[in-house]
Subunit: 226 residues, 2 copies
């Protein structure tokens, strides 16, 4: 009985890791669609978001099913299952943020959304997004508190990029007008929130392992002021 | 036993309704702090966000405790508890959005953040935020599918306001520069997201009652493209 339960927990963990792959891939493709004004690719990212939502729903069903079949369940296991529900929410939301990037590409097509001087910054933000979601997957797999702490550095870099975007927009030399400023403001926020949710996933793992919220990782809901 | 369980479920529902009051109040006060450049009020909203987070944590504990004590739990009850966890997340996130509005007021203090021609729009967005969170509370209390559907109208109005903000910023007559454009873009998104999460709460209630996602309410994660 206990063995079957452990097997189910492993399967849920695997599905969460699969979600990290899907949302990382979605953000990478959305970024390409954005920077290359590739409408077909943007549409494909938008279409594929359903698969991420479905995987989240499957994890839900699995958890509820497990709770029904495996009673009584001890408090530690319940905490793990509740945390898994929260992690799948974080990951699903990361998929949505990739979706928003793809929608921005579609909305402005065939015009490019990101002015030339910000392309390298957006590329860097995507790179950081890939790095942080990969590490979040590793943290789920290994339950390593040390790896969770490493996410913090990546998130700090992301926040720096987010501030750089604002400094470029607010520089007197900005020549792309208000529409580009609005678009880039929201895009930058999507990448920054993507990283925040990855940090949130890592924090939840640390909480499960140590029973306390880590001091050095920002709270799941700490935000950079606008 | 069953009676005690029902009592606990009612208490969890009451806590969720209490959260709707707190986050509505937080957004109302944050809006005042924003429009009147009231630093003390902004600080107070920021400080009080902890209470909202604490209430969410208490709901979590209560649900886990209930699951541990009341086993076996049938699938319907589990679904209700899982949905309650998700609703408390939505509500906590609404509190964060009020927090962001307060942080914008604090960041720019003593300068006003919202240009004169957008003050009435922000006031309207706060009004809609109050209306939608009140209705979300009613939906939790009454489990009325009809009331849940009414939220949709309010959310449509909110989306209209969100688009109006963009049309003002993007009008050639915009004279407030890029910083104000960036600030107002993010602020408008905070109100719009606040309404989205209220819709999400209502949808979850409809799902519980009917067993299917409502067709006419937007999905919890449908977004207005930037």
């Amino acid at each position: 009985m206990r063995e079957a339960f452990t097997g189910e927990l492993t399967a849920i963990g695997d599905s969460l890791i699969e979600m990290t792959h899907l949302v990382g891939f979605a953000m990478a493709r959305a970024t390409t669609a954005l920077l290359e004004a590739d409408l077909a690719l943007a549409e494909s990212v938008i279409e594929h978001d359903r698969n991420i939502d479905k995987l989240r729903d499957q994890i839900d069903e699995r958890i509820i099913d497990l709770l029904v079949r495996q009673q009584p369940v001890v408090a530690t296991d319940l905490r793990l299952l509740v945390t898994s529900l929260r992690m799948s929410d974080d990951l699903e939301r990361m998929g949505d943020l990739a979706l928003h990037v793809a929608k921005a590409a579609r909305l402005r097509h065939p015009r490019p959304v990101v002015p030339t001087e910000l392309i390298s910054t957006i590329l860097e933000m995507n790179y950081l997004a890939q790095m942080i979601v990969t590490r979040a997957g590793e943290v789920i797999a290994t339950r390593s508190v040390a790896s969770a702490m490493e996410l913090e550095t990546v998130d700090d870099d992301m926040d720096r990029m987010h501030r750089r975007v604002f400094s470029v927009i607010l520089d007197p030399s900005w020549s792309h007008g208000a529409e580009a400023a609005v678009d880039v403001t929201l895009l930058s926020r999507y990448y920054e929130r993507f990283a925040d949710h990855a940090v949130s996933v890592a924090r939840r793992v640390v909480y499960l392992v140590t029973g306390a919220w880590p001091e050095h990782l920002p709270s799941p809901h700490d935000q950079l002021a606008p």
